[in-house]
Symmetry: C2
DNA sequence: CTGAAAGCGCTAACAG
DNA sequence: CTGTTAGCGCTTTCAG
C-alpha cells in the first residue's frame, strides 16, 4: 500500500540531497534554477505528493481541523458542516468530521480521537448531554449551542445565532396579526437554542399581556408535534403555534387540520430553521432563518485566530436571524 | 499550542525508557505489573494522548480514511456520510470528509489532499463531471454512482443500489394501477443513478407496450419539476409521473394540482429517495427507498479488505431497493 | 547554492 | 522484563 514516493526517492533520482528537494518543495532558500527545474520535473513524473503528516510533525504545524457535530444527517448541521469544510479546504486544511449522536460518551471519544489525530483546532456543536468541558488544550470554537459549562470560562469562544429574538419575532409577528392564544412547542430545555427560543416567545407574550403556554414535546419529531397538539386542542382554543423547530410545527399542522381548522385563517403556525420541508409543505408554514453562512464564517475565522495564538477581544458572537412569513 | 506531553515526557517522569512506555501503550511485550501501573498512572495524570500520526508514520498503518462526496448537505449523501463515519469511528478510524460540489477540479484537489494526508482508503461518490480516474494508489471504493471510467477497470470496487429496478418497480406499480400515460422527469444523464432509473422506467413502459416520454429537467429543483410539468401538460394528457428524485416530483405535484388534477385519483406520482420532504408533503407521494445502511456497510467492509490487501471476488455489488407507496 | 545531521513522536528489532 | 538504537518523511540549522 505504501508505494508512495518520498522526498528521499526524488532526491536520489535527481542526484541531489533531500535538503535541496525540500527547498524546492517549500520554495525556501536559494536553489539553482537548473536543479529546481530538474527536481520539479522528476516530482511531476513520479506523481510525488508531500506527506503532510511528516511535515506537520516536524514543523509542529498541522493541516487538519476537527468538526464535532451531534448529527450530520440533520439538515441544519449538515449545511454547517459543508460550509466549514469548504472554508477550511480553501485554506488548505482537511476536516475530520465526527458525529456524537447527541451522546456525551461518544463526544468524549471524538475529542480524544481528534486530539490523537493532532488536529490544530476544533469547531464544536455540543451534544445535548454535554455537561462538562473536555479537558483538552486544542483551540476550540463552540458553535450554535451555548455549552452548559460556558459560564465557568468567560474567555470561551462561542458563536450563536440570536435564538432569543428568533422566538420573539416569530411570536410577535403572530400577535401583530391578532393572535391571542399562542402555544409554544419545544423539546425539554436541554439545549440552549430551544430554551432561548422559548424565552423569546415568553418575552413577546408577556410584553402583550398574553398568557403563555409552553408544551414540552418528548422528542423532536413530527409525531410528537402532532400528538401534543392534538391533545391540547381537545380542551383549549388556540390561534397560533410557535414550534422551536420545523418538524414539530409540521406535526402540529397535521393535528390542526385534522381538527378542522384552517391555516393560516384560524391558526397561524411558525416553525424554525427554514428547512427544505418547510419549503415544500403545501400549508403555509412561517419560519425563522438562521444565518448559517455568517455563523460558519465567523467560527472559522475565530478558530483560525485561536490557532495562530492571536488575541481576540470578541470571543462571543450572536448573529441576527431573519423571519420568513408565509 | 503544543503543550502535548509525549511518550518521552512520560518516560522521564516514570524513570523508564520510552520503549517501556511504548510497550504499555500498545500492550505489546512483557512489562512488570508494577511499572505498568506506575506508567498508566502517570499517563492519566498528565492526560497523555498518543500521537496517532507519529505512530502511523512509523508503522505505516494509518487511522484515517477519506470520504469524497458531491454535496454533504444533500440529505441522501449526508446520511451516507454519517453511516460511514460512524462505522469507521467504531473501528478506530477518523473520517476526513470532502465536498466536491459536483466539480471535477475540486474533486481532484480533494483526492490529492487526502493522499497528502495519508489516508488509508477512500470511499468515493464521484461528481457529475468526473470523467477520468484520478491516478492514485490509495484503495478506493466507489459508492452509489458508477464512475464513467469504470469499464476500463474490471477490478474496480463499486457499490450501488439497484437503480434500474428502482425505476422499473415504480413505473410498474403505476401501470398495475391502470396508468397508461406516464412521463419520466429526470436530469440529463450525466450521472449513472438517474440514467439507470430512466432505463428502468423505459423497460417497464416497453414491456407493457406503452409510449415513453422522458422529459429532461435542467437541474434538480422544485422549480424545474414544476416548470417542465406545467409546460408538458398544457398539450398532453398524463396519468402518471415518475421523477428520478423526490424534489422534482414535488415540483411536478405543484403543477399537477394547479392544473386542477387530483393526486392520486387522476395522476399518480412517484419520486425517489424517500426524503424527509416526501414524508411531510400532504399530497401522496410514492417513492423508492435506497438501502443506505447496507450500501455503506458493504462499502466500508470492502474498503477495509482492500486496505488489508485481501483478495475479493465480489468487487461489484448492486443492492436491492424498496418501494413505498402512498 | 548545496549537503550532512539532528530531531519531531513513535515502534520494533536487538541486546542485555 | 527493560533499555538502546535505527528510522518512518520531512524541515532546519550549520557548515561548506
Amino acid at each position: 500500500m505504501k508505494n508512495n514516493v518520498s522526498i528521499k526517492d526524488i532526491a536520489k533520482m535527481a542526484g541531489v540531497s533531500i535538503a535541496t528537494v525540500s527547498r524546492v518543495i517549500n520554495k525556501s532558500g536559494k536553489v539553482a534554477k537548473e536543479t529546481e527545474e530538474k527536481i520539479l520535473q522528476i516530482m511531476k513524473e513520479n506523481n510525488y505528493v508531500p506527506n503532510l503528516l511528516a511535515k506537520g510533525m516536524r514543523t509542529n504545524k498541522v493541516t487538519t481541523i476537527g468538526i464535532v457535530i451531534p448529527d450530520i444527517s440533520n439538515e441544519f448541521f449538515s449545511k454547517i458542516a459543508k460550509q466549514i469544510q469548504t472554508l477550511f479546504f480553501n485554506k488548505g486544511y482537511a476536516s475530520i468530521i465526527c458525529n456524537t449522536s447527541e451522546d456525551d460518551k461518544i463526544e468524549k471519544q471524538c475529542i480524544e480521537m481528534l486530539q490523537a489525530q493532532q488536529v490544530g483546532g476544533i469547531i464544536h456543536i455540543v451534544s445535548e448531554k454535554a455537561n462538562k468541558e473536555n479537558k483538552i488544550l486544542i483551540p476550540t470554537v463552540y458553535l450554535d449551542r451555548e455549552p452548559k459549562f460556558s459560564n465557568k470560562r468567560k474567555d470561551m469562544a462561542i458563536i450563536e445565532s440570536d435564538n432569543l429574538s428568533g422566538g420573539y419575532i416569530a411570536t410577535d409577528a403572530m400577535i401583530k396579526k391578532g393572535c391571542k392564544n399562542i402555544i409554544c412547542l419545544s423539546p425539554k430545555d436541554v439545549v440552549s437554542t430551544h430554551k432561548k427560543r422559548c424565552q423569546g416567545y415568553a418575552y413577546a407574550m408577556n410584553e402583550n399581556g398574553l398568557n403563555l403556554k409552553i408544551i414540552i414535546v418528548d422528542n423532536v419529531s413530527l409525531e410528537e408535534g402532532y400528538n401534543k397538539t392534538k391533545e391540547y386542542i381537545k380542551n383549549n382554543k388556540i390561534d397560533g403555534i410557535f414550534a422551536t423547530t420545523d418538524i414539530i410545527a409540521i406535526g402540529a399542522i397535521k393535528a390542526i387540520k385534522e381538527a378542522g381548522f384552517k391555516i393560516p385563517e384560524n391558526v397561524k403556525v411558525f416553525g424554525y430553521d427554514a428547512s427544505n420541508m418547510s419549503e415544500v409543505i403545501e400549508t403555509p408554514l412561517s419560519t425563522i432563518v438562521q444565518p448559517i453562512e455568517e455563523m460558519t464564517l465567523a467560527a472559522v475565522e475565530m478558530l483560525e485566530k485561536n490557532m495562530n495564538g492571536e488575541k481576540i477581544k470578541e470571543n462571543r458572537l450572536i448573529l441576527p436571524v431573519k423571519i420568513k412569513e408565509r
